[in-house]
Symmetry: D2
């Protein structure tokens, strides 16, 4: 049985909150409807950019239900279900599976960092994939986990029939090239940052889960579509044009910045939850300038 | 109104699991009863050594109830309640408050590390302390959070009437000296590792939350009691004698090692939960040797 | 006056030592003669792979003289002249200038890391470039310096008429893309590791200073020549085929490994100087296997 | 043959430069004469605080000669002679030996960090100590070298008859306690930062090489003398009083700050060499305030 082959752009969707911090499901669904106008491959719900670590399980499940209800036919809905323990990750994964999610993106556990040896990670993901009712993708994001998965772990796990891919948010292109060399062809290596989108396409990567696709889905898609048509030059130009937006919303200003940019271009970013702080006025001004310079505003 | 003054040794208690991973509440209560034989200041329930990140809320609350039921009169029961969001931390804190917990030890939030500025941490802990029904202590543990709280944050938060102290697990003694200089006298600075227990006492610190006190409560207490009697030499000698055990159970072999050491000396460490791996035979042998060499086995 | 435009592959040449540690100038010159058979752009003498930090000034100057004597007409000879102080760097730079070196590659000073602010780096390189008799290139190599030069420094220094480029050894392709966006067109951005050679070409980078070119000049050159002909597929295939060699000789086994690989393919790597250790037998066997698998042996 | 036993405070002496950057030997000798008025154990010449990495060999030797000429009888003169290679370190060490230096403090080599394994460090220091005409001390300073020497290396090297001690600048007191447990009694463990001076004394350490002793020799000595008299309280009080100065001159403002503080209290700090920048006016003001607050100005 072969693995699902993914291709295209997924936004790791933001989770809008109301002023008091309550979940704004209506805004969330409205965003999905608007994103449906673009040629996206699907959605990642409950990713890092969705402030997942701030949500209760009940909130998580209601977001998944909303996304599944609003997505277009053919869209792949991936859900971030990684918790620290196998028990809790498996429990959440199978709950979203029963709601209809297509796959689960699972963070490397990391709290007891020193104990997360290659052996521990292989045992964890293998046990999870054995028991999960939907396919699993590994989520490598050292920026948040302080753990960078090693080639031997990738090599081993990529051969499990129910582990279909890995999202890598490092932007480390030589590392991506290493993985491309050692995984089977049907394993989906996914780039997790727009800063590496064009270079990843050059290596043969086909899928991007890009925070920037929350506010700039059109440009993220066009980098790939022009590249696929052989027009490297246009693809590179668009990539460079939106790069400063990506730096602002994923680096400098973080999730508050990303949500503000969403607000500015017609989606609803909404409020963040504490301990995240609301965006300061100078930061708003800086993002406006960056958007204007990129021809977005 | 002055703050509670803590003094003495607290074990950050381990959470025993059965072979299949289920919570072993009976073993947990039996441990408490055994620890009650020593002159401990109380217990920290749901700390890092308690595999808290692997527990459901229901399991957490049952552990707190057990500890409160079994503790001796006069014992202070501190509970680890830090989650990533203010909402969830506050919710859990007030739930354990209503069960009768004396105070809450709250991890610095850290997932969105780049956003955890001094301002964000001050806002978070201030809002939490304002609304918490029990006193709050800050938990600084860069080994797990990758965030080391800065002096200006400590200075500010130490003046909040409902923030009564901070546990520091870095073992960084010059940093502890810096904090001692800038906090009010009624703020409880607590050392969070037996590797710094004797040096911390030399600086005037009075309280230790020491993983080693799970398996060696007697020696941890004696370091302090001999020191308080002016017998530095004996205090130093005991500290150095048990130091290698501490290195083994908190560094080299982690929680699996700590639990095994507990098992070896008459408490019940029990199993760990996945992704933690059970201890290998060589590691068990190494811990046996270290315990024997320290005169414990 | 426009800046020199570099293009092609430069080996950062190894420095062969005799068994007792003495410089083996004869072997060095013989290597140059052999490398001259390939279509290289020139040589980097006294780079990190040349064990420069282990050489006396007299040895350094004799190596530069040898390289200049043996190079082919048209070759560009770049020399690593970075010392910790402006005084010493300037002194060495102008000595090699007078010998006929074409340019100087200057390491970011880094011993007092905390003091190496953007302002300090800008002042240092500006003063150096003002007084140097040959053009300067910046050398960014955090692996050795623990300092990663920031975009604002690159932006400023790239506009100095006597600073003609920068070698970057991070392999960080998104960072390279950022720099490409902010430097003038005549500023030579050079990739400093074969692990990023193909992706850098995809971004428009034209020059590589590649340790791997010591032992595999042919393949390093072919990646670029096939890419320039529009044959991405072959370029990518060669890149992936030699990548494991690069990982071995620049990562896993370091300079001892690189020198051994040189020895195996007909150049003279020779001995290393203490504190570097000679390569162990298992490591030699591992490199033999990697070379064989890549079709080199 | 037993090892020299060191005890007391050594300033790692600053190297004054004139406005244009030339060495100011006169000021250097005048400083020594002034420091002779205090009960110091001797001097460390060519340490990190002496901007050694900015000096030519000729300058280094002239500073050593000056120190030896001006020191008081009984003073121990230790000289920093660590270069990256065994050859150069040995050469410089034996040159200063012939000038009359008492011992050499040798930095762990670190440029090729990945290659500096335990085995490499043991081989390097052993070969050096075998051939050095004066006793060797190891210099562990991860802040500059990014390498923290491991216990097994310390254990092995501390048994070499010509390696008499180690200066540790980490301020890591639990690590110091570990070393105290594993080295022979005649091995001189030296604390290399005033931030850990009082805690180190509490552990039984007897020697400090303290940057702060350049500008506050009196206080550094008094911490130890009062401690030795059993007056912990006064020792601790002085330690805490001068701690903020130490933070300013070794952390916040670096060598420029240390030199300015020297100037302010009657010694000659003098200018720094590029790439170090002269101290800004705000920084001078901040240091003045800190000195005043500590009762020094």
């Amino acid at each position: 049985m072969s693995k699902i082959r993914l291709k295209g752009v997924f936004p790791p969707v933001v989770t809008p909150f109301k002023a008091g911090g309550d979940l704004d499901l209506e805004a969330f669904e409205s965003n999905i409807t608007k994103w449906n106008a673009y040629d996206l491959a699907g959605y990642l719900v409950l990713g890092s950019n969705g402030e997942t670590v701030y949500l209760t399980e009940e909130e998580k499940l209601s977001l998944v239900e909303s996304a599944l209800r609003r997505k277009k036919p053919g869209h792949h809905v991936m859900v971030g279900t990684g918790m620290e323990s196998l028990r809790e990750t498996l429990s959440l994964t199978n709950k979203v599976a029963r709601l209809g999610a297509d796959s689960a993106l699972v963070l490397t556990p990391n709290y007891y960092l020193g104990a997360m040896t290659d052996e521990a990670l292989i045992a964890y993901f293998t046990a999870l994939a054995d028991q999960s009712e939907i396919p699993i993708l590994i989520y490598n994001v050292p920026k948040f986990t302080h753990l960078n998965i090693r080639p031997e772990v990738v090599r081993t796990l990529s051969r499990h029939p129910n582990i279909i891919g890995m999202k890598d948010s490092t932007g480390d292109i030589p590392q991506m090239a290493t993985w491309l060399r050692i995984v089977p062809e049907d394993f989906n290596l996914i780039v997790g940052t727009a800063s590496a989108w064009y270079p990843a396409l050059s290596l043969g990567v086909r899928t991007g889960i890009l925070a920037l696709a929350n506010c700039n889905p059109k440009e993220c898609i066009e980098v790939q579509s022009t590249f696929d048509l052989g027009d490297d030059k246009t693809a590179y130009e668009i990539y460079q044009r939106v790069f400063p937006i990506n730096t602002a919303v994923t680096g400098t200003f973080g999730i508050s910045g990303l949500k503000y940019a969403c607000d500015r271009v017609g989606f609803t970013g909404g409020h963040v939850r504490s301990p995240l702080l609301p965006l300061k006025e100078e930061a708003k001004k800086a993002i406006d300038d960056i958007l204007a310079k990129a021809g977005i505003l």
